[in-house]
């Protein structure tokens, strides 16, 4: 009788645990799906292909942990690799400690260069640098006016000349900066297509003339497959130090960043998040990785499961559940884990063997705070043996946790019911009703 039960449990657990190791066969569906996800996110065709191949080579043969399937595990590995690939080097910009810091800003038309120049000036001004903006877009109608308008909003002077000569503008601008005690210049250049030879020659000349402390390639996060071509061409001419990803306040998936990162290997240094000048942020590779893979789905769940779910603890919990020895002490541990992970429902879903069964359970996460406070006010003895919780003890607990005696009573009662349900579940070998009866309020 007893053996039959444990066998039953073992079987369900095995199923949830998946198939032991990652093999080409058990991850192929997932890989196909991920390729599609990457392409939909505008990751370049070749980049997506290579990336998936490399990652899956690395992953084959890996052990599958309990509580997740091979598909979930490979997704998680891809997510991690993506984060590593997008991240990497430090994202700060170099400043020239002694002399003049020169920052050159380049990119395609309309990518957000001028706005970024404004934002960066604003940010650097906060560290008390004396900044001069140089308006080297001498082509686009009112480009200089645009920079001047931005400059005046943040009290930063803009250097320009009346002649339509970008190289000369830059040369005179730098002279002007040196003569007038500026220690930082930011050069806004005209947008240009990488196939425009004349304009690319111009940017090479500027680069050579300035030999900038830092040069940045500004790219629209909505860019599609062609991102690899422009990023490459600009890199050949300018050999820029970093990438600025703009318009991330939109809802594009931003896969172009991965394409560029893998093709030119330069770090993403800033994120531009809006039209106003205070929306410049440093870059978080993990956020972009989940954005590329599609927010909020498997990735984050698997991620959290692995981060916070200790295999050993899980085993102990299973054992306790099975032997009906789950006490307030265990409960508190779970709540702490839950709080790290954000949601009770998601945690319960990760407990081996419970998985899908809790999907329908309605659980109020906010109530957890109260529950935790109550359990925290119990002594260890009380937690392990709730039976000793008499009226006086309950009163003390209510006071200590800032809750009412009714709250305490309710929790103890529900916990008792839960234990009963557990023993019932163990007898029946199913966990369905357990969590439906778990109400906190």
């Amino acid at each position: 009788m007893f053996e039959e039960l444990s066998l039953k449990l073992e079987n369900t657990l095995k199923k949830v645990r998946g198939q032991g190791k990652l093999t080409e066969k058990n991850i192929s569906d997932t890989l196909r799906e991920i390729r599609r996800v990457l392409l939909d996110a505008d990751v370049n065709y070749k980049v997506a292909k290579e990336f998936i191949e490399q990652v899956s080579q690395k992953a084959l043969g890996k052990e599958v942990l309990s509580s997740i399937s091979p598909g979930q595990l490979i997704t998680k590995i891809i997510y991690d690799e993506l984060t590593i690939l997008l991240g990497g080097d430090r994202s700060e910009i170099k400043l020239n400690g002694s002399g003049l810091t020169t920052i050159l800003v380049v990119g395609l038309q309309g990518s957000g260069k001028t706005t970024f120049c404004g934002k960066l000036s604003k940010k650097l001004k906060e560290s008390n640098l004396k900044i001069l903006l140089i308006a080297a877009d001498v082509y686009r109608p009112a480009a200089i006016d645009q920079l001047k308008t931005l400059g005046s909003q943040i009290n930063i002077p803009v250097f320009s000349i009346s002649e339509q000569d970008a190289v000369k503008t830059v040369r005179l601008g730098i002279e002007y900066a040196k003569e007038n005690g500026f220690n930082t210049v930011i050069i806004d250049t005209a947008g240009r297509l990488h196939v425009d030879e004349e304009m690319m020659l111009e940017i090479s000349k500027i680069k050579e003339l300035v030999n900038p402390t830092e040069s940045l390639f500004v790219v629209d996060s909505m860019t599609g497959q062609d991102a690899v071509n422009s990023a490459n061409a600009f890199n050949e001419k300018v050999n820029y130090d970093g990438i600025v990803l703009t318009k991330l306040d939109g809802d594009s998936r931003g896969g172009a960043a991965l394409s560029i990162r893998s093709v030119v290997g330069k770090p993403i240094k800033f994120i531009s998040n809006g039209e106003k000048l205070d929306t410049l942020e440093i870059f978080h590779p993990d956020r972009l990785a989940s954005r590329i893979l599609g927010k909020g789905d498997i990735v984050s769940l698997v991620e959290k499961a692995q981060e916070n779910y200790d295999e050993l603890e899980a085993g102990k919990l299973e054992e306790k559940l099975r032997k009906n020895k789950f006490d307030f002490e265990d409960f508190l541990k779970q709540i702490k884990a839950i709080k790290k992970m954000g949601s009770l429902s998601s945690l319960l879903g990760m407990i081996p063997g419970l998985g899908a069964q809790v999907k329908n359970a309605q659980i109020d996460d906010k109530a957890l705070v109260k529950v935790e406070a109550i359990i925290n006010s119990m002594t260890t003895k009380e937690r392990i043996a709730p039976k000793i919780l008499n009226g006086n003890r309950r009163k003390r607990i209510a006071k200590g946790s800032g809750t009412s005696i009714q709250d305490v009573n309710r929790l103890i009662k529900q916990f008792g019911e839960m234990q009963k349900m557990m023993s019932l579940m163990n007898q029946k070998g199913g966990g369905n009703s357990l969590l439906k009866n778990l109400k906190f309020n």
Binding site: R36, L39, D40, A41, D42, N44, Y45, K46, L108, Q109, G110, S111, G112, T114, Y139, R140, P141, A142, A143, D145, Q146, L147, K148, T149, L150, Q153, L193, H194, V195, D220, M222, T223, G224, Q225, D226, A227, N229, S230, K247, D249, G250, D251, S252, R253, G255, A256, E275
Partner: protein
């Protein structure tokens, strides 16, 4: 077509030759001496399609349909495979009618054209080009500068109006954009203008307050003239990937987009995402932008557009 028949096509050609080499190579590799449809050829075609931003689903669809139509076809040379793919692609635009634009304009003067899109796609530049072309066609044109947000938007548009030699109506930065639209149309009615072009500030489609502002502009225009705007053009950056589809969907929710304009096709980007938009939303592509000059706007031509993706 009538309005823009005297365009200079050499620029597009020039733009294309720069990218043609790469495509030629891809295709010769693809087709050299192969008489059967093997997966490799189809994979290579898939790559060309996907790297043109056509999108995974559309690319796969096209390839599936190609396979089917080639089943009954004895000639399965690479060229024929390509020909079939091209035909499939062109047929996506079949629903588009080359309508008598001139008649439409003559029927409802002033003819109000509202130009919308996200930030930096090329709205203002396109307005300048459109103004120039309408003017050349002998029409009396006024531009309303309803981008009252971006730094120096007024100055930029003013330069374009001067270049095109047309009238412009502007207000101070920060003014309610719908009031600019309102005043421009009132003036156009009073002074018998034929064409009113309304420029708007770039806005991301996921910012509801900005989209609400746009629908207000539209309502106000509609109050002055019941059938207006007669056209609402959504400008898309040819470099944009799959997000363009979302842009088309979201902008359609607040304004009736009557046409698409795809810009910056003078680079190496192909703008292939419009196939999806066309297939799903049936919004015709009207013009393409192929440079920053005033003459760099062309009437959209499906055959040429598809050719540009594959041209040998």
């Amino acid at each position: 077509m009538v309005m823009f028949n005297n365009f200079n096509f050499s620029k597009l050609k020039e733009g294309l030759t720069k990218t043609r080499d790469k495509i030629v190579n891809t295709i010769t590799e693809t087709i050299s001496g192969k008489a059967v449809i093997d997966d490799k050829t189809l994979d290579e075609i898939e790559e060309i399609l996907i790297t043109s931003d056509i999108g995974y689903d559309t690319a796969t669809n096209i390839i599936e349909r190609t396979k089917i139509s080639l089943k009954s076809d004895k000639d399965r040379s690479g060229l024929n495979i390509l020909g079939t793919v091209k035909k499939e692609l062109i047929s996506i635009f079949d629903y588009m009618q080359i309508d008598g634009e001139e008649e439409k304009i003559n029927k409802s003067k002033p003819y109000i054209i509202l130009v919308v899109g996200i930030n930096g796609v090329g709205k203002t530049t396109t307005i300048g080009k459109l103004a120039h072309n309408y003017k050349k066609a002998g029409l009396k044109v006024i531009i309303g500068s309803a981008d009252t947000f971006r730094a120096a938007a007024n100055e930029q548009l003013d330069i374009w109006a001067q270049r095109a030699g047309v009238e412009i109506m502007q207000k101070k930065q920060g003014t309610d954009p719908s009031s600019v639209a309102f005043d421009t149309i009132r003036k156009a009615i009073k002074e018998k203008y034929d064409i009113v072009l309304i420029d708007t500030a770039g806005r991301l489609h996921n910012k509801s307050y900005l989209m609400e502002e746009l629908s207000k502009i539209k309502r106000v225009i509609n109050k002055v003239l019941p059938n207006a705007p007669n056209e609402t053009f959504l400008v898309l950056d040819g470099n944009t990937g799959q997000n363009a589809l979302v842009q088309a969907t979201e902008f359609s929710k607040v304004t009736d987009i009557t046409g698409l304009i795809v810009t910056k096709l003078d680079g190496t980007a192909k703008g292939g995402v419009v196939f999806q938009i066309s297939a799903k939303q049936k919004i015709p592509v009207k013009y393409i932008g192929i440079g920053e000059g005033i003459d760099d706007l062309q009437t959209f031509n499906p055959e040429q557009f598809v050719k540009a993706i594959f041209d040998i």
